[in-house]
């Protein structure tokens, strides 16, 4: 058993940490308040291959592994959870299904510019009436000659509006339930495809979350990802991978909470001594450090399983469930340790508190993760 990172993973962590601290951290609080999408950072991340980490060089990627990608998301989330999810949704939910399920032609057309970071990606499954019950989507895709006609609405789409390429799930045969769902690659600018409301969110405010509207949107048949009826399987397998990314985002937020608390516990004095000298604070810090380490190990193991071509669906769900709950608990403790200051925007833990919550909700709520885990256990 070897729990050491490889040399490339260590070098990538060091590089991303430096990039995150110098390029991403300085404006994170400002972007949180304005909700401005970090285009400049996205361009820089593209330059350093951070938008195509786990894909081979021949497809425009960096040629690194899943764990390197996961470490990158973690290090970004440590300073800005919004930037982290932009990378995670782009990589895990858009580029990856094209890499895994796409034809060679689709990879050349879509994966190469995505992995190079010249284009940004998104994934559209959720609808107003189809969240956890994903198979109940109502968006339809009707075959007409060499095209499909898409009609329907998607909501809460991460990278909505800013992405150029969308994986869209629609029903090609509404009578077949989950087996009647098909995946499509839809480009921004396609006639009949528009964006609705941009959501005003509690956290990850610098990321873009919008509604997608399809009105008689004609998609050429060569943009169908996989076969008709394979869409639900593609979506579920895509989300399995995506969950490792969200787990990494949660680990990054939890680590940021711990870092902030360690700094504060040494600086802040009450009763004439640093608050870190009080056992009440020490116990909280000890629990936080232990939990963040456990969350990180679960997350890395899920990534390791994926890299080693072993089943990872259950482990990804466990990592996402545990890490997201740890992130939320850490954020609550971090605000508590900071006291009144923690409630104010002068300290970053208030932002971490708002950012942490989404990790328990998107790419499958904690309840969905428990369903997935239990279904594996009871097989």
């Amino acid at each position: 058993m070897d729990l050491n990172l490889t040399k490339s993973q260590r070098m990538i962590r060091q590089m991303v940490r430096e990039f995150a601290e110098k390029e991403v951290a300085p404006g994170a609080s400002e972007r949180d308040s304005t909700g401005e999408f970090p285009w400049e950072i996205v361009k820089k991340m593209a330059r350093y291959n951070m938008l195509g980490i786990p894909f081979p060089e021949e497809y425009g990627g960096a040629g690194a592994d899943t764990l390197s990608y996961i470490i990158t998301v973690e290090e970004l989330a440590r300073v800005c959870a919004a930037t982290a999810v932009i990378v995670s949704a782009h990589t895990s939910l858009c580029a990856h299904p094209i890499y895994q399920f796409g034809t060679e032609e689709q990879k050349q057309r879509f994966l190469v510019p995505l992995a190079q970071g010249n284009r940004l990606g998104a994934f559209a499954l959720t609808e107003p009436n189809a969240g956890t019950d994903a198979a109940s989507i109502r968006t339809t895709a009707t075959r007409q000659g060499d095209s499909y006609i898409l009609n329907g609405n998607k909501i809460f789409i991460t990278n909505g509006g800013v992405a150029d390429i969308y994986i869209v799930l629609a029903k090609t045969d509404p009578s077949k339930g989950a087996r009647g769902i098909t995946a499509f690659i839809v480009e921004k600018g396609t006639p009949g495809f528009s964006f609705g409301k941009k959501e005003d969110k509690l956290g990850i405010r610098a990321s873009s979350t919008t509604e997608l509207i399809f009105q008689n949107c004609r998609i050429p048949v060569e943009n169908r990802l996989g076969e008709e009826g394979e869409g639900f399987k593609i979506a579920m397998q895509t989300l399995d991978g995506g969950r490792i990314g969200i787990a990494a985002q949660a680990v990054g937020i939890a680590q940021a909470c711990l870092d902030a608390c360690l700094r504060y516990a040494k600086e802040r004095e009450q009763f004439g001594k640093p608050i870190g000298s009080f056992q009440a604070i020490q116990w909280m810090l000890a629990d936080m450090a232990t939990q963040v380490e456990a969350a990180r190990l679960l997350t890395y193991r899920a990534a390791w399983l994926k890299d080693n071509k072993q089943p990872f669906s259950k482990e990804a769900a466990m990592a996402k469930l545990y890490a997201s709950e740890v992130a939320m608990q850490q954020a609550i403790k971090a605000v508590q340790i900071h006291g009144g200051y923690g409630y104010m925007k002068d300290y970053p833990v208030e932002r971490f508190f708002r950012d942490a919550k989404i990790t328990e909700i998107y790419e499958g709520t904690s309840e969905v993760q428990r369903m997935v885990i239990a279904s594996h256990l009871l097989r």
Binding site: I12, Y48, S68
Partner: protein, 266 residues
Amino acid sequence: MRIIVCIKQVPDTTEVRIDPRTGTLIRTGVPSIINPEDRHALEAALTIKDQCGAEVIALSMGPPQAEDALLEALAMGVDRAILLTDRAFAGADTAATSYTLAQAIKQLGPYDLVLTGRQAIDGDTAQVGPQLAELLDIPQVTYVQKIELLSDGTCRLQRALERGYEIVETRLPALFTVIKELNTPRYPSIRGIMRALRQGVTVWTANDVPVDPNLIGLKGSPTQVQRTFVPEHKRNCVMLKGSLDEVTTALVEELKERRLLKALAT
């Protein structure tokens, strides 16, 4: 165009402490980094490569772990990386270091430019660059903050002075030592990291470079370190109390008494 960049791996002195008893650096747990000004030298070479094409070679002398600094240089985009490492090189002062680097550069064949950082944050001597230029018998320009390649094959530089700068022109080949004002170094890219590890660093020992054994390592070093120590800081703080006038008068008296202030013309 061929550019050789000499870099040094150093302890990150922002995280370094000194053992007050022995007077030496506590290196345990301190990360090693590329000397900050050497990163600017690398960036300068890579900028020239991006703009007009060049072969960039990174060269370092150090212990085997200095390979990490060269791997980072490869990941930033240099074409080749060479590490001079051998027990025989150990203990070198700046003269022996410059000699060893110069012999390695001669071994590499023709070149147009040698770039180094102004000085390393661990030794702070700023001697290796200038000594290297002398040994290579090429012009040197130190404290470079701007590089402009001219169409006639010469180079126009801004050289920082204490107040302002001077403009210097030189023919090539030449050696420049650079300062941080020159540029903003790029990060290694992730693809660059993967390629660097595949490519690897070339290791040269004392047998691979034509060196005189009497001029390398500790034996070839005229510098003898007798003792290193941390200067003792003795500070006494006196708090002055009273009204503004009272403390001002007391302060002036105190300064006069210590001969720090001549009589005031009031």
